[in-house]
Symmetry: C2
Subunit: 236 residues, 2 copies
């Protein structure tokens, strides 16, 4: 049997699967180090401070640009013992608002890949992060009309996927999730009896770490290959 | 016919319907004025500046505590022309994290009222704001188990309610929404052919402004009266 006959609905992750995201955080961090570095005393590791504050805040403020902005302000004040000028903190907050406003940059081949899959299957989008920002990206991407459902969630774990698929009346065993993260986009679905299709953003190879006796997990080179994967015979 | 026979599912708003919320924002604003006021030049209206920045940012950053925190930092730097010390901005961000961590304070009679309604009807929660913060409040409230569904949305408008009720397979004409805002909790439901139950947080009287020929809109003194409303005869 072909994968496509075993699957009714295909879910897509968004950040770094449909459009670029990580680069924008990396650029903001670079700006942060450039602006705040000059006020940081010798011996203080600014990157460590930011990382620790971010990790500490995630359970309270979540992932996403606004939480990252608040963490940058806090890290700047903490790591410089208040020596950083407030104008620098204003510039950091400005940059965060710029990030929220940045146009979406689709990854190569995405519109064609989604069009091909949506010609044979119902498709949905499931993304983690800031509700306003993710909603804005979906709306401005020009792709929203293709998705039957859009879910913005706090964590991409088994219970969240389970709840969402239940709300959407989708049978997990007939659902495949496509995304760049094995941990967030593949493993929870395998656990739910569904399917995971890993499309790495950078060349990574994480497949070998996952127990997958049913062969419900595949890694593809590009999102453009999803339609071909659906048309391919299941190896089991 | 009784309201309860015409209605299958009752939705509840959360902030200032189930638990206190506005006071926490008011207190944060008072702290902001106290901390930033001394650095604000004469002739500059700090409250105006904060309000204008908040309004300007809502489409990008949404409602909720994190967006409010970023707006406070930006307003402090702008209104003082950068004279505010960065330690004050650090204190503002700290306060925002405290707000995210604050225990939920239920309004009087809420657990009993929800238990009474959930004994006869399916209930759901629909709230606007920050995804992490709202989810945390629902989870820590001890009330989550009563709700069949929990939706955190960007805007409480006709299209959002329509989409959510569709996702949850709820017929709008058999759905009543209970909340403290006529604009957010009543009007969109009336427009969808559903029901609106207004439980004002402060004594307000907005009912007279709303066209409601079908008598699908009532105002109650307290959330404790919702069960009695369901048991009452429909006037139409």
């Amino acid at each position: 049997m072909r994968h496509g006959e075993l699957i009714d609905v295909v879910g897509f992750d968004a950040d770094d699967t449909l459009w670029r995201s990580q680069e924008s955080f990396d650029a903001a961090e670079a700006m942060f180090f450039e602006l705040v570095g000059p006020y940081t005393p010798e011996g203080v590791d600014l990157a460590d401070s930011l990382r620790a504050i971010e990790l500490d805040r995630v359970p309270l403020s979540g992932y996403g640009v606004k939480a990252f902005g608040l963490s940058m302000v806090e890290a700047a004040v903490t790591a410089t013992s208040g020596r950083v000028p407030s104008s620098v903190l204003g510039a950091i907050v400005d940059h965060v608002h710029d990030m929220l406003r940045q146009p979406v940059e689709l990854l190569p081949g995405v519109p064609e890949a989604l069009a091909a899959v949506s010609a044979t299957h119902r498709i949905v989008l499931i993304t983690k992060g800031d509700l306003v920002h993710q909603t804005r990206k979906v709306r401005t991407s020009g792709l929203e009309h293709l998705f039957e459902r859009v879910g913005v969630v706090l964590e991409k774990d088994v219970s969240t996927y389970g709840r969402l698929l239940d709300e959407w009346s989708i049978d997990p065993s007939r659902f495949a999730m496509v995304g760049n993260s094995v941990r967030s986009d593949v493993l929870p679905l395998i656990e739910l009896g569904g399917w995971g299709v890993h499309v790495p953003y950078h060349s990574t190879w994480e497949h070998e770490l996952v127990a997958d006796p049913e062969h419900h997990f595949d890694t593809l080179d590009s999102i453009a290959d999803v339609a071909a994967w659906l048309a391919a015979e299941h190896r089991h």
